[in-house]
Symmetry: C2
Subunit: 350 residues, 2 copies
DNA sequence: CCTTTGGCTGAAAACGATTACTTGGGAGTA
DNA sequence: TACTCCCAAGTAATCGTTTTCAGCCAAAGG
């Protein structure tokens, strides 16, 4: 039998538009074989006569056949695609994670689709739903908050690895030692002689930045100093808030610990506008070693996270999880390192 | 009729693993209606008795039914998903474009999946193939080079909008006035009194950066000056190359025009290491107004592109293209603006 | 009281691949 | 020669939806 007549013959000078796509039956007809043989040839499964295989490959080539992955995924009940859901493509930490995930994924034969939630709960919900309904092979998620609802993924039995921020739902989890990093940073500031370091952090439902705040407060308490903390929303110039509160108070801070690199950038710009010299009048240390950290004025001290390696680790866990969905959930905490540049050193006033 | 027996009853205390997913037939059986009625209810198409609709929604909720989008896409012959293929997630220009595309897409009811090709031809090929086979509703592509092969998309009749870099294949195209931007920047450098500005650009098959080089050379020629050009590969520290060539020559340049923000960063770091004072010994101006540009030492002059707006425009064109695949291809060139800070001003030596 | 109309409902046919199962022919053995 | 056995190729079931189409029932009109 040949393909059902669609009033159109493949390759016979089809019009500029509206010509139907070529399907496997068209290839089969053109090669004079059955669809099964075409499928087996193109997928390299089962034995097929070299002569027929040649005819099939010729026909496929000639007609410009492009298998419909949607149909294939339906039949195979699975894809070779992961979704990586992050909260901010502008944050170099997450893009570094993304590259790690991507590199490791392609070694295992998966493609990675990146979804940017922009710290917006409704966008995150939407992407989680898309991932669940499109039945991706797995998801790497940096959740907006620990209450992010992953029931869609769970309901669709989609393997999940959480990265950076903890989730209340149990799952494989890759993170960095945020608390310890903040402890290092705060102790460093005090050692340098700063007297009133403050912590500029993100909303309290962001797990990782809370760890950093807690690390800061822990050190302050041990030194008998009153903690100074401000929570700054995403998507605003953090400096405005800080200037109106901390720097308008009778006793302003003399140093700042920021929990991510965008906040650090806001502080550098703001302090400059206010005429405060960083490293002399005010100490500053941030999280994440962005590419620009060494060249700002003055070079920025940071607590660095192994972002790329975290991505690789997350991808490895996801591969394992796909192979064995029943294994117990693992948590991987990678260590942070402090990179001291000039912004946190206490220089003598000129 | 009820669902074919799979040896498992939905909601009847299924085991921890391996329990099949809930399908539409399961919902239909539980609600005592046909699958057609379930589909109509859940999609809000056609009239359905409120009582039955209630039973359906109850059953769907109770069983945790999650429609299989793969099957739906197959039947509907289409998705609500776009692919956005960019060459570098670490480049703030592209992430700004991505946010523009994303915002506009979601206004039109599409979800955007981001693919990062890392300036790697094989990765780009892979993602184009995935997009073509997965039959996404449309693609926004920032091509690696003008020879990027989009025949897969064309063959699968997938609407395409090209952004930033031109493609030899005809398609809707959104770009910025690179040539004019480079002309502005070069004339500005000469006006400030720099005598030997050089151009640090990317490989010659990158359309946009070539435009910038040409703009630079055009000005140099008009001023009767010999052009100084170096092409720097992606993924390397651009400075090494520049130091070993331009700055090892008998007559080194006294100013640099870089064609993207990562190159500018490399130059700032490198010139510092070499002990050259930017704005005094050497002038510097880059492309793209990255968030860090105002806070490096000294603040970086740039030619800014309206990246976010370019993304929005690309998304608009794609929506139009999807509605009318036959319309003539459009090209949109958005203007660039020069932001002069200190790095390009010629300060008197201290 | 019968017929027409209109609106819901359900049965079944797509969608386009993969793959289990069937079939037929050739080779090998008794 | 006849009977197995094996292997490649083809037939048809399947994946889980959406959507066409036919049928049924109730209401309305003649």
């Amino acid at each position: 039998m040949s393909a059902p007549d669609r009033g159109w013959t493949p390759g016979a000078g089809a019009g500029p538009t509206g010509a139907p796509l070529v399907r496997i039956v068209d290839v089969a007809a053109a090669a004079g074989v059955s669809v099964a043989t075409v499928s087996r040839t193109l997928n390299g499964k089962g034995r097929v006569d070299p002569v027929l295989a040649g005819r099939v490959r010729d026909a496929a080539e000639r007609l410009g056949y492009r298998p419909n992955a949607v149909a294939r995924n339906l039949r195979r009940r699975g894809t070779q695609v992961w979704a990586l859901i992050i909260t901010d493509v502008n944050n170099p930490f997450y893009t570094a994670v993304a590259r790690g995930v991507e590199d490791q994924a392609s070694r295992s034969g998966y493609s990675v689709l990146l979804c940017n939630t922009d710290e917006d709960q409704s966008k995150e919900d939407r992407y989680l739903e898309v991932a669940a309904q499109e039945r991706v092979a797995g998801v790497v998620l940096a959740p907006r908050s620990s209450d992010t609802d992953v029931s869609g993924l769970v309901g669709s039995r989609i393997p999940l690895v959480v990265v950076d921020r903890e989730l209340s739902h149990p799952a494989d989890f890759v993170t960095a030692a945020s608390f310890e990093g903040a402890v290092m940073a705060t102790e460093h500031l005090l050692r340098e002689g700063w007297r009133r370091p403050a912590c500029v952090t993100r909303p309290a439902d962001t797990a990782t930045t809370e760890q950093r705040r807690l690390g800061y407060e822990d050190v302050m308490r041990r030194h008998g100093l009153p903690p100074l903390v401000r929570h700054v929303p995403f998507h605003v110039d953090g400096w405005t808030e800080i200037q109106n509160t901390l720097f308008s108070a009778p006793e302003p801070p003399d140093a700042l610990l920021t929990v991510d690199s965008m906040l650090a950038l806001d502080m550098v710009a703001g302090l400059k506008r206010l005429g405060r010299r960083i490293g002399t009048d005010v100490g500053l240390i941030g999280f994440d070693d962005a590419a620009w950290a060494p060249v700002v004025d003055p070079p920025l001290s940071v607590v660095a996270q192994p972002a790329y390696e975290m991505g690789v680790a997350a991808a490895r866990l996801l591969t394992k999880r796909i192979q064995d969905p029943t294994a117990a959930a693992e948590t991987l905490t990678m260590s942070t390192t402090m990179i001291v540049r000039e912004s946190s050193r206490r220089a003598a006033p000129a």
